[in-house]
Symmetry: C2
Subunit: 460 residues, 2 copies
């Protein structure tokens, strides 16, 4: 992965993959306990500047690490995540650790059960280091509204990490942990991954169970993973779905056919971002969305998310509105007025759009487009100018990712530049010295092809 | 079935079942052509007083009847509906016949395709006589608001047929046809069947496909059948689902365990109606809804139906509101304001209610309750007094039927009195000289038990 500029200190896991750490562990060059200590030290040293973590759990992490070491020494190997330090978004329940959802509504709340995905993490031998910052109730792609303050972008702490899984992305990008869990309702894994220059994978809808994850919008919510590269995402995804080639189809990872999906059908993009990502995709053919599909996807997403989010928060809106962040409160109140007939029509549009978009896959396995049309904005920015036109930052951040939540399709973002590529280089690398993400989308069951493309591009 | 008082003339099919007609046909005592002529003559004679039909199709009916006769003569027997005259609710498309949906919005509209259920009718050899009156867009259980006027109750034409499949019920009850198709979104087959003293069956959700049926509320809409007795409903249901013991489980129709479901948990009922139906049910055990479930079922039904109905009519509401019946327009406008968050919560409540109500079936196969808490009100009546309390007529009519649309459960209504029972008799018969309906509800797959109970009660 591209690493933040040297002016920003990074932690011990920057540029070290889960796969490589696993080899080091098994060949005796390190221990789970040492990795946990490195992670805890890195958080202590780096987090004051980045605010990636809401809570760390040194005792729990060191205990889990010791157990992992003991098991490995005793011949019990739980697989690729065994002994690996992991951050967990603070919207996902970890028994015994406070879960704030980024909100004052839940200050002091400590769940007594693990979320299903956390249970899987533990069964896979992973070491949970702590809980990562989330935009309040995951209701925002900017990552800068949380009861404990904004998470910050390791490439430039004045800039957004993106959100809502901003803490998870910042923690991985800064090398505090090699892997983190996030949630993705409209891009909340992929947006911060792209803005922070790491890989992020939102699987197919319901591929990773969401029990024990605080809901934002039930029919759009996905659990996903963030890591330094796509291969680590795949390792984690397989562990979380308890499969060895099951959900990802087990199909031959033959050479996938990639088409560039012209993102202009969805939203205007910074032409430098689009050019860099287009070049990185290596795609020779191009497809376009049917006319109006882009607008319909956006409207469908917004309507569904609005109604479902307000349904979750109706009690808090009525009972203690003052505890919400002011921007989140304003947005929820606006969403409360969306009429039911629009929700019903959005759900019907969703059914209509699925086969329409499915046709784009007719001659291709994977669609490629940018993860985000712009680079990381400054924290707090809500409007910006692109090609002389004002655009809304939130809408821009969500524009290329949310369609795949509406349709429930697997989508992966990987850093668009070659590893170690020139910062600020003209093609295939970061723009304005900031990372950009290449997003790859496939149909459920074709995940192996998605990761084959990512691996091929990483080698090239 | 109980037949209307002698002061009201009835047609040739009053008291004649589809099953008996089929025997007559096969044993040469009648022909399909003769049956079609009898139906057309009955409509010509009786319909001016009842307004059960919007449109009749003498040419089409006689042609279909001649074909049916030719096939039978040639040894081709399409089964129980072969040669049987049928009425089709004017919300269900019959190619080449006008379909008004009971609304001026569709005056002059002629569909060019049959609905899927009409295709099945034709394949089964049925003879379509014409289209029956529907409450405008099926949006009302009273059956008295339609572009072509109210359908009327054969037991007393000053009274409601009930709706929205009011024409189908009146046509069967008056003996104009032995069988009719209807739709049922909150009780639109069962309510008019009960008020008119015939049998009506709403199958499990989606058991009869709804392609080609104008929608009212997509997740609540069901296609159903109306006939003189339960056995004829079963014959028609089997033909419409192209099964011989498939959908209804093919299970042994052993003696079903019936429980009385105390209807007080849903809505107040006329005590004479409840007593008569309770006696007719023969149920020895009684179950009750969990506290609050009744209110939650009603609220869930109303919210889902409101939002889905307005989604269907948004364009007409904006473009030509003046073409709606004034009451339907007022109701749609009120429904347009229901917020999406309430719809989302209603859909969640629906998921929660399903297993809760499912538990009532723990020790019983069939739940029995009245189909409607009152007897047929006068046309136009919107409020009435029950035990000294004002009640809304629409809410009363829907109260005992709509829960089974929310849950998608099969529900059958049969006349509560023994066949030919005393009009106005104290127990088990009509109340105020008007019929009452016993409703039987089961789980999908247990339909055979439902019909076993109906058959047993009809014999007793």
């Amino acid at each position: 992965m591209p690493t933040p500029p040297e002016s920003i200190k990074t932690g011990p896991f920057a540029g070290r993959t889960v796969a490589a750490l696993g080899q080091d562990l098994r060949e005796g060059r390190t221990t789970a306990t040492e990795l946990a200590r490195q992670a805890l030290d890195a958080v202590a040293g780096l987090d004051p500047a980045l605010n990636a973590f809401v809570n760390v759990d040194p005792a729990g992490a060191l205990e889990a690490a010791r157990r992992a070491d003991g098991e490995l020494a005793g011949g019990t190997d739980r697989g690729p995540l065994h002994g690996i330090p992991v951050g967990v978004k603070d919207l996902i329940m970890v028994a015994g650790l406070p879960a704030t959802m980024g909100s004052r509504h839940f200050s002091g709340y400590v769940p007594d059960h693990d979320a299903a995905c956390v249970t899987r993490l533990r069964q896979a031998g992973a070491v949970i280091v702590g809980k990562t910052t989330t935009h309040e109730f995951a209701y925002g792609p900017t990552g800068d509204r949380s009861a404990t303050g904004p998470s910050r972008n390791p490439w430039n702490p004045a800039r957004m990490s993106g959100g809502s899984s901003g803490g998870s992305a910042a923690a991985v990008a800064a090398g505090m942990v090699p892997l983190a869990l996030g949630t993705d309702t409209g891009g909340s894994v992929r947006i911060p991954s792209a803005l922070c220059g790491i890989a992020g994978f939102k699987p197919a809808y319901d591929a990773i169970p969401s029990d024990g994850v605080f809901p934002l919008s039930r029919t759009l919510d996905h659990v996903g993973v963030l890591a330094g590269d796509a291969r680590d995402c795949l390792l984690a995804y397989r562990c979380l779905t308890a499969q060895d080639g099951g959900h990802d189809g087990g199909q031959e990872a033959c050479r996938a056919r990639v088409a560039w999906l012209d993102p202009a059908g969805l939203f205007p993009g910074d032409s430098r971002v689009v050019r860099a990502v287009r070049a990185a995709s290596g795609a020779e053919e191009e497809v376009r969305l049917p006319a109006d599909a882009g607008g319909e996807l956006r409207e469908t997403y917004t309507t569904i998310q609005s109604c479902e989010a307000v349904a979750v928060h109706a009690g808090r809106l009525a009972g203690a509105p003052e505890l919400f962040d002011s921007e989140v409160l304003d947005r929820l109140r606006a969403a409360a007025d969306v009429p039911g007939r629009r929700y019903v029509r959005a759900m019907a549009a969703r059914e209509r759009l699925a086969p329409m978009i499915g046709e784009l896959f007719g001659r291709h396995d994977v669609l490629a487009l940018p993860a985000v049309p712009i680079t990381a904005p400054l924290i707090g920015l809500r409007e910006t100018v692109l090609d002389g036109e004002k655009i809304a930052v939130r809408a821009a951040l969500l524009a290329f990712t949310s369609p795949w939540n509406v349709l429930g399709l697997p989508a992966l973002t990987v850093p668009a530049g070659p590893v170690g590529g020139p910062v600020g280089g003209p093609v295939g690398g970061p723009v304005d010295g900031l990372p950009v993400g290449l997003q790859l989308v496939c149909r459920p069951g074709h995940e192996a092809l998605l990761f084959e493309v990512a691996a091929r591009l990483a080698r090239s």
